[in-house]
Amino acid sequence: MVSGPVDNIILLADCYKSSHYKVYPPGTTKLYAYFESRGGKYPYTVFFGLQYILKQWLCGPVLTKEMVAEAKQVIGQVFKRDDVFNEAGWNYVVEHHGGRLPLRIKAVPEGSVLPTRNVLFTVENTDPAVPWLTNFFETVLVQAWYPMTVATASSVYRQLITHYLHLTHDTDEMAEYMLHDAGYRGVSSVESAALGGAAHMLSFKSSDTVAGTSLLQKFYGLEGVAGHSTPSSEHSTVTSWGRDRELQSHRHMLDTYHQGDAGCVCDSYDIWKCLEEMWGGELKELVLERGQRGGCVYLRPDSGDPKAVVLKCLEILGKAFGTETNKKGYKMLPSCVKVIQADGIDLHSLWDILEHVKEHGWSTGSVFFGAGGALLQKVHRDTQKCAYKVSYAEVEGKGVEVFKQPITDSGKTSKKGRLTLERGEDGTYSTVQHGKGDLTKDLLVPIFEDGTLLQEYTFKEVKQRADQGPQDFDVIKFLQESKN
């Protein structure tokens, strides 16, 4: 295993940023920028992931003379000109700061849940000689959009599932286990899998993206694991037995892992036959017996229209294993068998299935879910319109408000001046602009200064914060409105 593709912080920025130090107003000594979600799909965000970026890339002495020399070569060749690379500026950081970055970052504590359009973190240079550093690192800092967006979306999924458990089940405690992360193969890289997988685990305890646990242990002080998994089959472990030995493959699975829970994929050839004749037939006793020892078998369809398939699976299994009616009046399969649908799941299809299942008198508690691409990949920076903009500068000793306000898109207007994040007595958040905020009330906490991490959040506290959830958010109303 070799190390990843980038190991020089000067290469963490879009190329054009190498040309910017020259074009700020003469006499600029301070650039102050902020990051926000300008709106987007969800009305709130769960802030998470900045600590990973800081620890992975920006903490400590991160710059050496050798890196400056290497970057000089690369940037010179990228631009095919030698009047772009800021050799003096980077060497200054090495010589005067021992390679540590003279930046101050203040951020809302990780795990915080806030309405959009609020400042989430601010960045400014601490050395007046190098103001351009603030926006040089925009690129890598903006990548916080990803863990934040996955964390946000995951929290909405959990609220949706909780809502339906409330309606159709005796308890909603199991919500945390009901959306399994199956996205490791469907993301764009291992690093992204780790980040996205970690973000999902702020809301759920069920995951196959073990890279997420690795990241949380290394970067968020996680002890133990944050998500669990279960012995489960995949198509190759069923189909390698041959079509006429499918039954044996399932039996072998149950025998091999004969304690506790097990997951079995059932649609290799004919899901209906599989459920009716195999699981409802020869394997039934094994399932019931296992159930008596506290184990549950999760039967997994993996193709077809999710809504229709899930319902039909429930009905076949209900017929074979019998059903009970819970206190809320909904049908449940016995505790030894459940359906798990992990194909085609996204927020809207999940809602569809939950409603469909409920309409047919079934409890949500009999169906578990998994999601891959929708959870970890089908998000982008525009999902929550994440952006980083300079809002304040000091030029020739004077503070100036800085903003953009394109007539061609008022949604892209940025905030002005120094910012604070404050909370009113009624609990509502607001971002105070123009330097008019009360610093004693500022919820933005200094977390990074001159290369040192000032605050280190543990996964435990991040999750605690995230579990508090958003204020005034009705997940069903949200889904209805976003459908239109």
Partner: protein
């Protein structure tokens, strides 16, 4: 492969990263599979394909990165096995009957930590219609058949560079079409779509991979991480280029009334060569008409005399309308000539770049709109961020990896799925070859039905050794546009979705 020798990274975190244990490269459930195959299984053979999707072909790219980054050489250590054993136990709710300690120790002891896998693949850069085998994987040691599908997770991640390279090439086809129709040559093509996607990627690693995939087709990028990756993993010392360009902060810090000073400063700080300047901070029309068109007009023309070009960048509003209006305003201020194809051109020192809201469809829409108004496509270049590097997923090209053959108790058997609930998910059977058809296209056949010499799948990895080491140069050659390509405009009109 080693790090470049002259780098000395002092920050330990940067070397470590989130994952540095190959046993943690797989979906958790795969840890449980070694005991689920039929007893007597000695070989598992799997293949990877695009089962269809948005585009009718794919550009194969990125497997070499995965092999070199994660799988090449001795990749397994005692420490990794121990670390994984402990983690998996807790992760699986305290079960000790899962982790295959024996299997991993066997690989460590018998194979010195090298993976007993053979991978055969179509050469990188190949442009192959969907529903064809692109690579196959099998175990080379009968003791560890489970290893083939253990690494499915990481192998399947090739969907990403493959899909980005494909989406990027489709855009190249669109740009090529309009340049052919409205311009005298194809000179602008290599720099007509610039990668702006670094910040919109999900991680630095993803940015590097996606950015690299785009550079298979183009040469303009701001995602410098891609250049690093291509140097380190594909033998290309410098794969892409960029130009000095402003961003909103370098304009807005001059204040609303300082915009003209900011723009002037940009031109004077870089007195020669090509520069780009974002122009919509406050009022794009004022910027085009008054700032570029009047106050700085002479400076632009003067720079132009020594080959300096200004690229004006709008960044908001409805793209086709905005681009056209910019061209018309700039045309009015600087004059317009007509090229040999009869289309209007701004003077050679002036261009527009649209870097907001770009996708393969939007490029076609904009260029068609310009064409309808008599403007050559050569006046405009494009930048793309999210749509290039992030708005793709594994379903875009329906990428999947499936076991198609096994040897059980000495007998070879075809393996496949055929779900009655979705015939689109039916997988191929048997050991597979990829061959050319008589008309030069591709076909996937059973290995035993074709002359092995005609098999386009080449062994690229075996027992920890890389057998082929593709350079970006040859990959680019393979991926070049050619007359056998699909008619991209026909494709666009038939696939409105």
């Amino acid at each position: 492969m080693h790090d470049l020798p002259h780098l000395s990274v002092t920050n330990g975190a940067m070397e470590g990263g989130a994952v540095n244990n190959i046993i943690l490269l797989a979906d958790s459930y795969k840890v449980t599979h070694h005991r689920q195959y039929p007893p007597g299984t000695t070989s598992i053979y799997s293949y990877f394909e695009s089962r269809g999707g948005r585009f009718p072909y794919t550009v194969f790219f990125g497997l070499q990165y995965i092999l070199k980054r994660w799988l090449q050489g001795p990749v397994l250590t005692k420490e990794m096995i121990q670390e994984a054993k402990e983690l998996i136990k807790v992760h699986m709710r305290d079960r000790d009957d899962i982790f295959n300690e024996e299997g991993w120790n066997y690989i460590l002891e018998r194979h010195g930590g090298r993976l007993p896998i053979r991978v055969c693949a179509v050469p990188e850069g190949s442009v192959v219609p969907t529903k064809n085998v692109l690579f196959t994987v099998e175990n080379t040691d009968p003791m560890v058949p489970w290893i083939t599908n253990f690494f499915e997770t990481i192998f399947v991640q090739v969907w990403y560079p493959l899909t980005v390279a494909t989406n990027s090439r489709i855009q190249k086809q669109v740009l090529h079409h309009y340049l052919k129709e409205t311009h005298e040559n194809l000179d602008p093509l290599p720099f007509s779509l610039h990668d702006f996607g670094y910040r919109g990627s999900t991680s630095v690693e993803s940015a590097a991979l996606g950015g690299a995939a785009h550079l298979v087709n183009f040469q303009g990028t701001d995602t410098v991480a891609a250049l690093s990756l291509l140097r380190k993993f594909y033998h290309c010392p410098m794969a892409g280029f960029s130009i000095p360009a402003s961003e909103h902060s370098t304009i807005t810090t001059w204040g609303q009334h300082g915009e003209v000073d900011a723009c002037r400063n940009m031109l004077e700080s870089f007195p020669e060569g090509i520069v780009a300047c974002v122009s919509d901070s406050y009022d794009i029309w004022n910027c085009c008409e008054k700032i570029w068109g009047e106050e700085l007009r002479d400076l632009i023309i003067k720079r132009g005399k020594t080959g300096g070009t200004l690229i004006v960048r709008p960044d908001s509003g409805d793209p086709p309308a905005v681009v056209l209006k910019c061209l018309e305003m700039l045309g009015k201020a600087f004059g317009v000539t007509t090229n040999k194809k009869g289309f209007k051109m701004l003077p050679p020192y002036l261009k527009v770049i649209q870097g907001d809201g770009i996708s393969y469809r939007m490029i076609a829409t904009i260029l068609e709109h310009l064409k309808q108004h008599g403007w050559s496509a050569a006046n405009v270049s494009f930048g793309s961020g999210g749509a290039l590097l992030q708005k793709v997923n594994r379903d875009t090209q329906k990428c999947a990896y499936k076991c198609s053959h096994a040897v059980i108790n000495g007998e070879g058997v075809d393996v496949f799925k055929q779900p009655v609930t979705d015939p689109g998910k039916t997988s191929k059977k048997g050991r597979l070859s990829l061959i050319h058809t008589a008309d030069g296209s591709f076909s996937t056949v059973r290995e035993d039905e074709a002359d092995p010499k005609l098999n386009l799948l080449v062994p690229v990895f075996e027992n920890g050794e890389l057998l082929r080491d593709y350079t970006l140069e040859e990959i680019r050659k393979r991926a070049e546009l050619n007359p056998q390509d699909i008619d991209v405009m026909k494709f666009l009109s038939e696939n409105q979705a």
